[in-house]
């Protein structure tokens, strides 16, 4: 490190210590780094009365049976590494057709007939009442028991075996991708500001992207107490006004935008977004984030992974999303471009600093939280 740089950093850190020690701060800001984000899944047996869509094996079986194979014969082909009795390997990805030629259903999901996947029924799904109306397509949130929850994304995905989980288990494909992204993607940050977060009152919730990747602790989770510099790119900066009551934060709807560098969450953008955050005594938080999301964004999450790793039937998902999308109609066609969705978030307490070295949020770690810092402007 050059001496000039060292001097600059020294000055910044000295200022940090003073800021943390400020005794008469009028507000506090707690910082968090998202340690896990995944499609909010709440599986119940009654969700899929027809038995569900299964996974890749069931999908391939259905495709082969549609081509005249018996179920037994189809399973034989799949067991034989997708190779038929004549030794020909079946390429399921290029089962679509455009102008009579094979086409990838990943890139061109409309090149294959809609398989009409089973969509989730049932009573529960995570999320929020985004449109203020409770109707036959609404769910009940399993945590808050709020009625009128809009989560058509869950309806699309909820009958694939990959999503037949409940926390703390998370969809397998997403867990793999997130775990990989943790070591290479800039961290996603949350901060909560208020007069006294130990009491009820108004708060501000801010989402930012960091310039640094997540740091892991000795068991592979996010390292509590680690520090992150906030990227001042205004795109990935979403602010919500809200309230904290009994340790739970709720907010007024606003737009949410976060740029990632992950295979799955390359981009997460929601309109009319809401978030509900639970502050836990150990300093961590968990949260539900919901809103209307461009359904093609999510489709691309899955398409990038392909059917083998995404563990879904892509033409089926594409057509179901298109069919069940419930917001933002195209003025020309009337086709809804957004779909209601919800994500579950877990986050660890971390420090957040600005590019000039100011500490703008404090890690609330267990019994001894460092002194409060003044909330950032």
């Amino acid at each position: 490190m050059g001496s000039k740089h060292t001097h600059r950093m020294h000055a910044a850190v000295a200022a940090t210590a003073l800021a943390v020690a400020a005794p008469a701060a009028t507000a506090e800001t707690r910082g968090y780094a998202i340690s896990l984000i995944y499609t909010a899944s709440y599986h119940s047996p009654e969700n899929c009365p027809q038995g569900g869509n299964g996974g890749p094996k069931e999908m391939k079986t259905r495709i082969l049976m549609s081509r005249g194979y018996s179920k037994e014969k189809a399973l034989e082909v799949i067991a034989n590494d997708d190779t038929d009795e004549k030794g020909n390997r079946i390429d399921f990805r290029t089962r679509g057709q455009i102008d009579g030629k094979p086409a990838s259903v990943t890139t061109f999901p409309q090149s294959y007939p809609d398989p009409h996947i089973e969509t989730a029924q049932g009573r529960f799904a995570y999320g929020f009442d985004l449109d203020g109306q409770a109707g036959p397509n609404s769910f009940e949130d399993p945590e808050t028991h709020q009625q009128g929850v809009d989560n058509q994304m869950w309806r699309v995905l909820g009958c694939f075996a990959n999503y037949w989980v409940r926390r703390p288990v998370i969809p397998y494909n997403e867990s793999i991708v997130w775990d990989t992204a943790m070591d290479s993607m800039p961290a996603w940050l949350i901060s909560i500001s208020g007069e006294d977060l130990g009491k009820d009152g108004p708060v501000t919730v801010t989402f930012d992207r960091a310039l640094n990747v997540l740091m892991r602790d000795a068991v592979g989770s996010v390292l509590p107490g680690s520090s992150y510099t906030i990227d001042d790119d205004p795109r990935s900066h979403s602010v919500f006004k809200g309230q904290i009551k009994n340790g739970v934060v709720t907010v007024e709807p606003a737009s949410f935008f976060m740029q990632g560098e992950s295979q799955f969450y390359a981009l997460l953008r929601l309109s009319q977004a809401q978030v509900r955050i639970y502050l836990k005594p150990d300093g961590t938080v968990h949260a539900v984030l919901g809103g209307y999301q461009p359904w093609l964004d999510y489709y691309h999450y899955l398409a990038i992974r392909g059917e083998g790793d995404g563990l879904v039937d892509l033409p089926g998902v594409y057509n179901a999303m298109k069919r069940l999308a419930d917001a933002n109609p195209d003025p020309a066609t009337g086709q809804n471009r957004d779909i209601s969705a919800a994500y579950y978030i877990e986050a660890a307490p971390v420090f957040q600093t600005s590019l000039d070295g100011r500490v703008v949020s404090t890690a609330y770690i267990g019994e001894r939280a460092p002194a409060k810092v003044v909330a950032s402007e």
Binding site: M1, A21, S221
Partner: protein
Amino acid sequence: MSGAAKFLIAALVGVCTCVAAATDQSAPAAEPAGALYLVRLTPIQYERSIRDIFGSSIQIDVNRAAPGFRDEGLLALGSRRLTITSAEMQQYEKLAQDVATQVVQPNRRATLLGCKPASEKAADDKCAAAFLQKVGLYLFRRPLSADELQTFVATQTAAAQRFASFDAGVRAALARMLVTPEFLFRVELSEPDQGRAGTQRLDAYSTASRLSYFLWDSVPDADLFAAAESGKLLTQAGLEEQVRRMLLSPRVEGGLRAFFSDMLGFDGFATLSIDSTLYPRFTKNVLEDADEQTLRTIVEQLLVRNNDYGTLFTTRETFLTPSLAALYGVPLPRSQEMGGAVPWVPYTFAEGDPRVGILSQASFLSLNSHPGTSSPTLRGKAVREKLLCQKVPPPPGNVDFSLVQDLNNPNFKTARQRLTAHATEAMCAGCHKITDPMGLALENFDTASGFRTKERGEPIDASGSLNGKPFNGIVELAQVLKEQPSTTACVINRAYSYGTQRKPTVDERKWLTELQAQLGKDGVRWRDLMQRVTLGPDFFAVPSQATAEPATQAPTQTTAAQSE
């Protein structure tokens, strides 16, 4: 070198036939001119020496030579009794081949060789001899004898002929030099001290080596060798000139680091285990950074700022990495590093923060803990033994630890409660009385060095006293320790023993007592201490067997029991 000396050196590494072959075991054993001491290079000294001789770009594999054992609290003293096992010799063989191969690589050879061989495909004795003689001075830390040079040149000739390559010849000769005992051990030879009849002192080249490995933890440089060759180094004026020059060199940081790594027992990090399930914030990065944090703190305080040694216990200034900052629960603005080297950042803990001095750092707290729980006894013992140079007796063999180790007993939630109950047994009370008060003052830090105010819901009482001085918590303990005469005396004694790599004689202990009294008033500043020690009357003297008989305690040392 005398025949007896050669024989002794060869016997030490007799496991390696190639080394034995390089020495003249058949030479008649003549009466040695003086005493002979062999001190094995530490792994760090090996690395530093190689890089100082052949350049910092030389890559050296991890040197897994055993650290040896402690004598009087220092590995340096134990290294006088170290030999080389056959497994270690195999490793040194490989290291030697690796280093020699790198030295003859074209980019380095052009700089290091200093001559152009007549042919790249044949031996060139003249060119090789010039090179081997030059590096031999640094590797053996004395000029090669004519016989030695001839031996290595012959190795070069044979290998070059066999492989039809000049480089192969030089490589073979150099690799052979790198596994000789004369390189792997510092060979200290004595001679009669002309100024003090009837006494022995180190000869000029041994004096140069002792000086450079003490102050720099590495080989002498050209100026120091020149002073040895001319004999100036054996004069008081010449010695003073060299010491002053060497203490102004940036290489003095290497000596400082080596001394404190030894004194503070940082070799313990090689086997340190902290339960990651219980303490997930104690990461692998923390393990790698912990001793470096303390060494950087020491370098900053003692070298850069020229502060008194006692400052190490009370300073709020240190250096942190992102991992250490997270462990300590403080923010550390980070630049955007994506897989690059983790930067060290200067950091000052705020007034009121409990992190003061090196006792609040992971290198002390975690190194002196059990894997799953803190240990006031281990920490207190470490303060007594490492920082006050006192001895704490080992526990008796039949002691019952069940009360101390039962962390689930609802009646004894804190370490103080468990130790108080344990110490009701008479055989335990004596020792715990001397270790625990200081260790309990550090109980606000858990095994992983994280801060806490409670243990299992019970508030921690961190009060105690040392020599009648009360304290409550680390900030006050640090101040009390800083003001203890034993603290100053300990580092002075340790530095002297480390430098001479032996226990002080009776006369030396008297001299050290005077030095302690003086520095107790003036403060212990590193360069000043090094100058006083190396210019002291006996630093390069070779005690006779009678006067070298060590006392069990250094001059102002007291036993722990006496001071509590």
